[in-house]
Each structure stands twice: as structure tokens, then as C-alpha cells.
């Protein structure tokens, strides 16, 4: 690995995979070093143009990581084309950051992980923390030389779950990271995202409700390992050896929790269900529980009709 882990602070050294999260000071000290590429990934498509970390390239989730037609991500060729154009090599250390406490950055990191990019890390606290600390930003677009990123087949099994995988998983831990109102079914839309419509409200049977922001500290970064363990191991009683699936509405905020479980707490098998509630809440004959109770595992006969 080109760049040593960020162990500048005990907070970072304590995580199960200490290399996956880096601090703003760690990044500031290494900006411009060869082999390090900084990527900004935001909800707002123009935010990068307003100002970004010097040298950072933009990767937009909506317009670049998604397939333009099918509800899926780009394939191996599309990803290779995108990263080549951005000037990212397979052996580069990639540090991703973004707005909204890294929702979209964590989502982008998850997609990089589906393609097995060997070294991809998240900037703790994201864009807001960098700016709040008065660190340099620029509107200059870096002129990176195009690379030849290899075509890698996307791994859709290790870190990703589809609807049928979730149905087979029922009985094992699920974490619903949406708001309590969405979880109970009182609301079928996130108050700020009504265009992501669904027909039915509620949650997947037996899912725990832990809104994503519970993993976030006051400075917008992640909580310490001990604090995260108090929630996911203490309150929920999960063990790192258990298989866990996270979901939200479209899979972006649940990527934030996926990251915490997978790398900060070292859970061995965590998958993000990117279909999430916008698929489940619209699907025919999948089991749904309404109200604040988690509900029970449905009988096998209750599973969705096969297609």
C-alpha cells in the first residue's frame, strides 16, 4: 500500500480497518503526492464547481456512476472508461469526500468497492469539515492525464444485496437507516425527497431502525469505535460474525452505515441493499411491517412470488 494508514489520532487508529478513514489533516499533508487521487462526490451536482479540495476530481453519482437506462451501476467497461477519463489508476490511493456528511461519498466508495478498487478511503467529516476548518479550496479543475484503468467485472454479491437476497436473508439482521416516520410507515416519502415515491409505507420484517445520523459525531465525522459499538453491538446485539444487510430509500445513506459496520467495526459480511425502500415499498407481495415493532420473520410461504 502506497500510503500508510492515518493513525495520527487514536480515534482513527482504533477502528477495525484503520486505513479506511482519513482525517482532514492527514489529507492536507499529502495533497499533490503522486499515487493519491482525491475525489469529490456530492448530492449537489454544482457544488464541486463552487470550490473543492485542490487537485480533487469530481465523480457524480447520478450522472456518472449510474447506468443511464437501467436502474443499476455502470458495468466494468463503463467504470474503466470513467476512471480512465478521470485520470485514476488501479493502484492509486483514492480518498473520497462529499457534502451531507459524506452520504454520496460513502455511496461512491461503495461502488468503487464493488469493482474491487484496492485502496479507497473516506475523508472523515467530508466537505463541510474541510471547509469549517478553513482549509484551502479552489475552483481550478485539475488537468489529470488519462489512465488505462482495467475492465474489472463488478462483484454484485459480496457487498451488494438484491431483493431476492434480502428475502433469503430474512431471519438475519437487517438495519433500516431511515427516519422513524418512514420506518413505521407513517410517511411514505422522506420529507425532503418526495419525488422518490413509493406505494407502501413500513419496513422489511425484523429490521432494526437506526437512522444513519446516529453514527455521526458533532463535527460531521464518524463516532469513535467505542461509541459505534455501543449502538450496533450493545443496543442491537449484533456480532461482527453475523451477516447484516443495510437499506434506506435508494441505498446512499445506508452506504454510510455499511461503511461503519464493514470497516470501522470490522463486521465480516455486510451488504447494502441498493434497491432499498423505493424497490421494496413498490414490489408486489413482499412482506412489510408497519408500526414501530420490528415484526417477525414471515413464514416461507410469504416470500415474494418468483419471477
Amino acid at each position: 500500500m502506497t500510503f500508510a494508514f492515518d493513525t495520527s489520532d487514536p480515534k482513527f487508529a482504533d477502528y477495525a480497518h484503520p486505513g479506511k478513514l482519513v482525517s482532514t489533516s492527514w489529507l492536507a499533508d499529502r495533497l499533490g503526492e503522486p499515487g493519491l487521487v482525491v475525489v469529490e462526490s456530492d448530492e449537489d451536482v454544482l457544488l464541486y464547481s463552487v470550490g473543492h479540495i485542490p487537485g480533487a476530481v469530481k465523480v457524480d453519482w447520478h450522472t456518472e456512476l449510474n447506468d443511464p437506462v437501467v436502474r443499476d451501476y455502470v458495468d466494468g467497461e463503463g467504470f474503466a472508461e470513467l476512471l480512465s477519463a478521470k485520470g485514476i489508476s488501479r493502484d492509486d490511493t483514492v480518498v473520497i469526500y462529499g457534502d451531507k456528511s459524506n452520504w454520496w461519498a460513502a455511496y461512491a466508495l461503495w461502488v468503487f468497492t464493488l469493482f474491487g478498487h484496492p485502496d479507497v478511503r473516506l475523508l472523515d467529516g467530508g466537505r463541510d469539515k474541510w471547509i469549517a476548518e478553513g482549509r484551502d479550496i479552489t475552483t481550478d479543475i485539475p488537468d489529470r492525464i488519462a489512465t488505462r484503468y482495467p475492465v474489472i467485472e463488478r462483484d454484485d454479491h459480496t457487498e451488494r444485496a438484491f431483493r431476492d437476497d434480502v428475502i433469503d436473508h430474512l431471519g438475519n439482521p437487517l438495519i433500516d437507516i431511515r427516519s422513524p416516520q418512514e420506518y413505521t410507515g407513517e410517511r411514505v416519502t422522506h420529507p425532503d425527497y418526495p419525488e422518490e415515491g413509493v406505494l407502501r409505507g413500513g419496513h422489511i420484517p425484523t429490521a432494526h431502525n437506526v437512522p444513519w445520523a446516529r453514527a455521526v459525531a458533532a463535527d460531521g465525522g464518524y463516532l469513535t469505535r467505542e461509541e459505534l459499538e455501543a449502538i450496533y453491538r450493545g443496543e442491537l446485539g449484533l456480532a461482527p460474525t453475523e451477516s447484516v444487510i443495510t437499506y434506506c430509500r435508494i441505498g446512499e445513506r445506508s452506504s454510510h452505515t455499511w461503511f461503519a459496520l464493514r470497516y470501522l467495526l470490522g463486521f465480516q459480511a455486510v451488504r447494502n441493499y441498493d434497491g432499498s425502500w423505493t424497490e421494496w415499498g413498490n414490489a408486489v407481495r413482499v412482506p412489510i411491517v408497519q408500526g414501530s415493532e420490528r415484526g417477525t420473520r414471515p413464514a416461507r410461504g410469504a416470500r415474494a412470488s418468483a419471477h
Binding site: D44, L46, S49, V50, H62, D99, D192, E195, E196
Partner: protein, 147 residues
């Protein structure tokens, strides 16, 4: 005005966008975001007078007035960290202000589809602008006594 005719300012903005390639369209939207005027004190001091546009992913608030001549004036505010939303709000402030009630109500709520941004911005992000138009038009109808 035919069904498809847009008021001059909005038609011009639409043409300006469509004349550009996709990357330059984003630049133009960014220019609009910088042009969003500050709220007058009567609203910046009284944010409760503004209506939240829930369709937008970022907090944007709008308020319509009819001036002495009965023409529409739109006021809007959105955070600096949400330039896309600011850009859409700014287009509407420039495009709706000064219109008659009838012309403003005739603006199609899918005006955002006429800016050529679906690929560069994504349809999901464009939905917020539709919400802004619908809410502005509802306020206009109330002010004009149509409801």
C-alpha cells in the same frame, strides 16, 4: 399566447441553455446560482413569511408578491451549499418576476424539462424545480383571488 409559448424571459433562458453543450449548461446554471438576489429585509427578517418547497432536496423558500401594477414578483432563498437549487430558484426569480398573473399561471410546471439538463443534472434533481413552479403558481392564484 399559444399553449406552448413561454413568456419571453423564460423562453430566452431556455434557448440560452439549449445553445450550449452539456458541460457549459452546468456553468450557466452556476452563473444563475450566483445571481440569486438576497431577500429583502421584510423576508430575511421574517423567514416565517416564506413557503418551504418540500420537493427540493435542499431547503429552499419562496414568496410571491403582486406589485402595484398587479405584476408578479418572486423572492427565493436557498443555502450557498446548494448551488443547483439556487440556480433553479434564480431562473424562476428572473423568469417569473414582472409577468402578469395570467402569463405566470400559463408557465408549464415542467419548464425544467426545457433546459436540456436531464442528463447533466439527472431527472431526480430536476423535480425540485417543478415543485417551485407549482408552489409559486399556487401563491399567485391565492393573491389574485383565483382560489
Amino acid at each position: 399566447m399559444t399553449d406552448n409559448a413561454l413568456p419571453a424571459a423564460l423562453a430566452e433562458i431556455s434557448e440560452d441553455f439549449l445553445d450550449l453543450d452539456e458541460n457549459s449548461r452546468l456553468e450557466l446554471l452556476l452563473d444563475f446560482s450566483r445571481e440569486l438576489p438576497e431577500l429583502p429585509a421584510r423576508y430575511s427578517d421574517h423567514p416565517e413569511e416564506l413557503e418551504r418547497v418540500a420537493e427540493c432536496q435542499s431547503p429552499v423558500f419562496i414568496r410571491v408578491e403582486l406589485d402595484e401594477a398587479g405584476l408578479v414578483q418572486l423572492f427565493a432563498t436557498a443555502p450557498q451549499e446548494a448551488p443547483t437549487t439556487r440556480g433553479f430558484a434564480s431562473i424562476l426569480v428572473q423568469g417569473l418576476s414582472g409577468l402578469s398573473v395570467e402569463s405566470a399561471l400559463a408557465v408549464p410546471s415542467d419548464y425544467s424539462q426545457r433546459l436540456g439538463l436531464a442528463r447533466a443534472v439527472s431527472p431526480l434533481r430536476l423535480a425540485g424545480m417543478t415543485g417551485m413552479i407549482r408552489r409559486a403558481q399556487r401563491q399567485i392564484r391565492l393573491l389574485a383571488g383565483h382560489e
